[in-house]
Amino acid sequence: MSATTDEVLPIRESDDVVRVRQAVRVRAVAAGLGLVDQTKIVTAASELARNTLDYGLGGTARIETFTGSPERGVRLTFADNGPGIPDLERALTDGYTTGGGLGLGLSGARRLCNEFEIDSVVGQGTRITIARWK
């Protein structure tokens, strides 16, 4: 499996979340994902990009397209240097939020992807990698 495209987008303001969604959509189409898979990865990207902005105090989204057999798809990495997540298990529970949201961002994004990895260090930041393939 090899990465064929690679781009990194900043997430600093609300408009950047929209840009990330749009870029992910373009990559998902290029990777040959079907409409439902596209919608799932774009929705997951939207949740995580917003988290990066609201909780991580800004960061970046890296978008990779991979082609290979049998899998073709999109892999996204959201990284921030924010406060980190003290209790990962709780943060991944439906309905748990420290902000004003519904608490579905992380747990929902995980359900929408084939691959979900989270790495967070308190005081240093959070890195989340997700992928969706067909």
């Binding site: 939207s46 917003r50 519904l102």
Partner: protein
């Protein structure tokens, strides 16, 4: 675009979200709609989301909030035109929008919020047809 336009049709307010909007614009719509409901005495609100490629938890919460606020202000809300892939994704995300009425298209949406309201409306810009009152 600073604001999403809100149209008035009879006693209903119509909103069509045609582009991918950022969070602040979504919040602004929530506030604008509440004000317009009170200002116009609207009994129904129809939100067309057929242009939306995704609905995430933020947008879902906004739709839920609009429905709840409208209800308190004596207006029914119906969301129309959700794409099938969006519906599948929303359910998997964990959001089934139980507080929001939905209809497949604008025509059915109008029938839902239009039911029982036109006979008391004496304006000359009444919407044509639509109210078949076959729900009883």
């Amino acid at each position: 675009m600073d604001r999403i336009p809100i149209l008035k049709l009879g006693r209903a307010l119509l909103v069509s979200i045609q582009v991918d909007i950022h969070d602040r614009l979504a919040k602004a719509l929530e506030e604008d709609l509440s004000e317009r409901i009170v200002a116009t005495g609207a009994r129904g609100v129809m939100i067309d989301i057929s242009g939306l490629e995704i609905v995430d938890s933020f947008m879902g919460r906004m739709l839920d909030n609009i429905a709840a606020v409208s209800r308190l202000l004596d207006a029914d809300t119906v969301v129309v035109g959700m794409r099938p892939a969006v519906a599948i994704t929303l359910v998997e995300l964990g959001l089934s929008l139980t507080g929001v009425k939905t209809a497949l298209n604008v025509e059915r949406g109008m029938a839902l919020i239009g039911s029982g309201q036109y006979e008391e409306f004496d304006g000359d810009d009444a919407p044509e047809g639509g109210d078949e009152r076959n729900d009883g």
